[in-house]
Amino acid sequence: MYRNILNKKAAIGETITWTVATIIIIGALIIFLVLSSLLAKVKLINFREVKSDVEKESPVLTMKTSISHDIADERNKTQIDNILEEWNNE
């Protein structure tokens, strides 16, 4: 009888160890699942929500505008730049 009680106590300790181990394993899995779903959202590349103005501008179009300004001796430059800024940020 006494031996049986001792055996049960050992089993309780072992059960707690395995239960805690299981909770840790499942917790780690959930953390990794959440992390991978967050990483998956990074794959949506949306320029419309990019905050930086530098990335909103196309270097190709900026270059074309700049060349045209040079050819036209910067005629109406301020007016044109204001229009382009307004239209490109709509």
Partner: protein
């Protein structure tokens, strides 16, 4: 008594084996889930694609600061032949829409030249102005150019890309 203990021990081992099997299944399922979640979402590069399309059309209609008047002109009506831009949609014309408008600096309300191509339905979808995987996306950019007489123009290009099912 000894036989009884032997059976008890065997039962414990079976339970532990089952437990390990269950843990391995859970871990394997978790790894499969992570891979599925990560690779299940394809890279959505339609915004970049639309911007590249705008750059290519801009390269086609304006070169070295001057409008390519063989292709488009405000002074005489020309059929804008997109094939001259050497863009290959690879049989996916229905997935794209583009619109080119040219405004004279004196009249920014009414374009002196307007031409569009591709799938016309995409323009209305883009006008919803909401970014979603299930809606076409695109961009509208403007730049400045001159004609051979050095008249000043603002060119506005709209490009819309659908590719809802297969954006890579």
């Amino acid at each position: 008594m000894a036989t009884n203990n032997f059976f008890k021990n065997k039962n414990g081992e079976e339970v532990l084996s089952l437990y390990w099997f269950a843990i391995i299944l859970i871990v394997a399922g978790g790894i499969v889930g992570m891979v599925f979640v990560f690779y299940g979402n394809p890279y959505d590069v339609r915004d970049i694609e639309a911007n590249l399309l705008i750059d290519k059309i801009a390269d086609c209609i304006s070169y070295r600061g001057k409008i390519n008047e063989n292709l488009i002109s405000c002074n005489d009506v020309k059929e804008f032949d997109f094939s001259q831009c050497h863009l290959n949609f690879d049989g996916e014309e229905e997935e794209f829409f583009y619109k080119v408008k040219i405004y004279q600096l004196e009249d920014l309300e009414n374009p002196c030249f307007e031409k569009n191509g591709g799938n016309l339905n995409l323009e209305a979808s883009y006008a919803i102005n909401e970014f979603s995987e299930n809606l076409p996306t695109g961009a509208e950019k403007s730049f400045y150019s001159l004609d051979n007489m050095e008249n000043q123009y603002i060119i506005k290009i709209l490009a819309v890309v659908r590719k809802i099912k297969q954006n890579v």
